[in-house]
Each structure stands twice: as C-alpha cells, then as structure tokens.
C-alpha cells in the first residue's frame, strides 16, 4: 500500500479525498487534473525598474522586477553579462511565510527560475558585454510572491521572462575604451527563447497540473519541469519529499510539455514578443 509519509491523520483524509476526485477527472476548484489556472500578465507596472511584470495564476500573485547595472564579468565568463535571481516569499502572501532572510524554499525558487532562464540560454548574455573582460551588464531579477495559493514556480518564471522581454535598459557606447551612457536612449534585453516551467503534483499514480495550496498540503510528491522550447527540457526539480515512481515519469514529461506550450502562448500574447535573435 502507498504511504503518506508521516502525515497527520486529517491530511491523510484530504489526500484520499483529492485522489478520489482525480480518479473522476475532477479537482476541488473544478479543474480537470491536467488543467492549469488562468494566467494574467501585466508588464511595466514599476517605472523605477528597468522591467517589471505582475503575474497571477489563480490565487497566486507574483511580481518580478528587473534592474540592470554595470559591473565586472566573472573571471570564467569574461564575455558574458552577469545575471542573478533573488526571490522572497513575502509574509503578505501566506501565514506560513516569515519575514527575514530568504529561507530554503525562497532560495530554491530563485535557483529554479535562474536555471530555467540560464540553461535555456533565454538571454543572449554575450550581447550585453560592453568591454570584454571588464564591463558587462549585471542583470538583477527580483521576484516577490505577493499572494500564495500554491505553485509559485510557474508564475514566477512567467513573470521573470515577461519582465525581461519587456524591459527597456539604458544604452551605453564605448568611446576610446571608456563606457559612456547614451542619454535618453534605451535598448532591449536580447531574448532568444521564452522558457516556462510546469509544476506537477502527484497523488499516488495520478498527476495534476499547477496545484493549489490545499492540494500541495496533501500531495505525495511534486516536480517542476522547465521547458526551453517545445521540444527541449531545460530544468527539472523534484521539490518536495515523497516517492516519484519510475512508472509515472514519462507521463509527467508529456503532460508538462502540453502545459508549457499553453503557458508560452499566453506569454507571447501578453508581451507581443517576436524572435529577434536566432542563436
């Protein structure tokens, strides 16, 4: 028999009830198992940021902001701009989030978003090098979870990518080896691909897409799969305890691919994106 590892009894009851629903292709909020919640994307809401987006996925709200500074490249990548992702689970979002420095969940969120963007080579970091080995763009991606009803991964990736793709950043030119700001002119961050992630929950042998907070409290395990394009996985993270049976992995990949295509379509609509650079 399957085991709900150390879960207290009421959680076991909820787990069994949710599983029962899924067997009938249903969920508490009326969705079918493979259905994600509606996605709303607002970009450029923060004038002080170089790029910004607020994304809601059902009751989960994310705000992402981009700031671009000038800095030195890392010694092992002299011909690449730097990129760092930070995430905070704001205490406004849930009574389970505490104020204070990012905990392991927030750090995991930041690193999963980083991985989706970095591994899919979404940003053409080489184009943001001003003086090789010396002056490059430093891209800060800051993510805040404002309201949490499960699955803060997928809307965070969408918010980060939407903010990046709609950012307007200062323009610089190099004159006699010296970096100069071109006053009043702006440029874009060169985006090559639009990665998205898909958060899957497992109940026994059944998969659900985009779990809510109540589903997350009872599921057996969960998984995030980041898609660089329709056909390429760029990141995976098993992000909760629990057994992930071998038998279910291929189905998980297949389902997440379908959802990723939907997410990306929604993202493209919102940001009116078109491929400017082919890698």
């Amino acid at each position: 028999m399957y085991r709900v590892g150390g879960k207290p009894y009421p959680t076991k009851i909820l787990h069994d009830k949710l599983y029962e629903l899924i067997l009938h292709e249903k969920r508490l909020d009326g969705r079918s198992p493979y259905e994600s919640r509606p996605v709303n994307i607002h970009t450029n809401l923060i004038d002080k940021a170089d790029g910004s987006a607020q994304v809601s996925m059902g009751g989960t709200k994310i705000i992402a902001g981009i700031k671009v500074d000038i800095g030195s490249p890392y010694p092992d990548t002299p011909n690449q701009a730097n990129m760092t992702v930070n995430a905070e689970l704001l205490p406004l979002a849930s009574r389970t989030f505490e104020p204070g420095p990012p905990d392991e969940r927030a750090i995991e969120l930041a690193r999963v978003v980083d991985r989706c963007i970095r591994e899919s080579k979404a940003i053409d970091l080489e184009k943001l090098v001003y003086i090789p080995g010396q002056k490059v763009a430093v891209i800060y991606i800051d993510i805040y979870v404002l309201d949490y009803d499960g699955n803060y991964f997928d809307p965070s990736v969408i918010a980060a990518v939407a903010a990046l793709a709609t950012a307007k950043i200062k323009k610089y030119e190099v004159i006699d080896g010296i970096l100069k700001l071109v006053e009043g002119e702006y440029t874009k961050i060169p985006i090559r691909r639009l990665p998205v992630s898909v958060n899957l929950g497992l109940f026994m042998d059944k998969i659900i897409v985009d779990p809510t907070a109540i589903e997350e409290s009872a599921l057996d395990t969960s998984l995030i799969i980041g898609w660089s394009t329709e056909d390429e996985i760029a990141a995976i993270q098993k992000n909760t305890p629990g057994r992930l049976p071998f038998s279910i992995v291929e189905e998980a990949v297949r389902v997440s691919r379908e959802v990723s295509i939907k997410y990306r379509k929604r993202l493209i609509e919102s940001i009116a994106w078109q491929l400017e650079d082919t890698p």
């Binding site: 809401l45 923060i46 004038d47 002080k48 940021a49 910004s52 009751g59 709200k61 705000i63 902001g65 981009i66 700031k67 500074d69 930070n86 905070e88 704001l90 205490p91 406004l92 979002a93 849930s94 009574r95 104020p99 420095p101 990012p102 800060y140 800051d142 805040y144 404002l146 309201d147 949490y148 009803d149 907070a213």
Partner: protein, 244 residues
Amino acid sequence: MNETVRLFTEDGKRLDGRSFDQMRKVRMEVGVLDKCDGSAYIELGKTKIFAAVYGPKEAHPRHLAQPHRAILNCRYHMATFSVSDRKPAGMTRREIELTKVIKEGLETLIFLEEFPRSAIDVFIEIIQADAGTRTAGITAASLALADAGIPMMDLCAGIAVGKVQGKLVLDPSEEEDKYGEADMPIAIAPRINSIVLLQLNGRLTIDEFKEALSLARRGIESLYELQRKALKNKFAGIEEPEVE
C-alpha cells in the same frame, strides 16, 4: 544647491501642475490579497504599496506573549526594484526606523488589550517608492487592519508636507523632497483629533510648522474620506475610489 533647480513654474504651479495644497492622484483598494486576514493597496502618484494583516493569533514564540495585551508586529519593507538604485535585499536602517514609527502609530489605535497573549502582524510592502511611502504605508495598513476586523479607535491616514524653495507644499514629489528644505510626514486619526505619527527632516520656523500641520490636516481629511469609501466599496463590492 537648490537654487539651480526650479521647482515651480512661472505661474506658481508645481512642476507636475499641482497647486501647493494638492495631493497627487490617490487610489485605494481593500481586500486585494487572499491569504491574509485583511489587506489593502494604495497608489499615491507612482508610489504603490500593499499592506496585509494577520491576527489576532497566538503569539509566537510564546515567551514574547504579553499577559495583558496583544503584541503588534510590523514590517515596512521595500522591494529591491522599488527605487532608482536597486535597494539591497534585507532591512536597511531606514526601513527599521520607519517600521518603528509606523508600528507605534498603529499601536496607538488598536485595542490591543482586548486580545491578551495574542499577536497581530502587519506587513507593508513598497513595490514602487516615489515619495510618501511611510505615510501612504500607514494609510494602507490602517485599511488592512479594518479589513481584518481588528477593533480600532479610529482609522488613520498620513501625508507629508514639504518645504520647497521657501514654500510649503502638500505631498511633495520625489524631486521636491530631494531639492527641498524640509519634509514632514504625519499621520492623523481624524475622529479622535490626534497625531499618531510625526517626523520632521529639515528646517522649519515655528510658524511654518503650524502652517504645515494645518495643511497636512486638510489633506488627511480627504484621505480619510477615501478610506471610508474604500471600506464601503469592499463590502458593497464596488470599484475602488480614486481622486485627483
């Protein structure tokens, strides 16, 4: 330094077209977040703030609990991208000080003694800072407390008064604040006729101070009306109030 920057047009208007006693456009909304017990959103010009409230709930850790009253926890926090130069993550000394004065302002109004051994948490998140964040923050927090059903003597609302090139102005813009001589943030509970938050950075004569107080007071009265409307709208399900 402030001689070279002109902050008034030739007809005495402010650079954004406002008169000296005019606030920026305000928008308030109550109940904007789902998972907390009460919440509010405020826009004051480009300043954008969320506030959320939890409680009354069990004080945690236990040894912080007070036998005769609830404790009030508060955090005023800015998003890294809310300001022109990226703010480092973590609480700056400025944020810690503003947290203190906002918390004390709210503590003045809440009937904490009704909830012994409990805690009430107030979180204020500045997502864009364009002057006036502490006063807009306490205004939003007061709404969020009301939304959470926390019993209070009164709502409070706040606004700053600036002194700019010798003239007092209501609700200074970021530029006016930067090049001005003084900035006086104040929050008032109008029904009980009391100041709950008061700071001054910069120089004022006694007469200017008095004038600044009454200028703030008029502004706060109109904010107070907007707060009451926002609360009514929440419970009536109507759109948020907006004013120019």
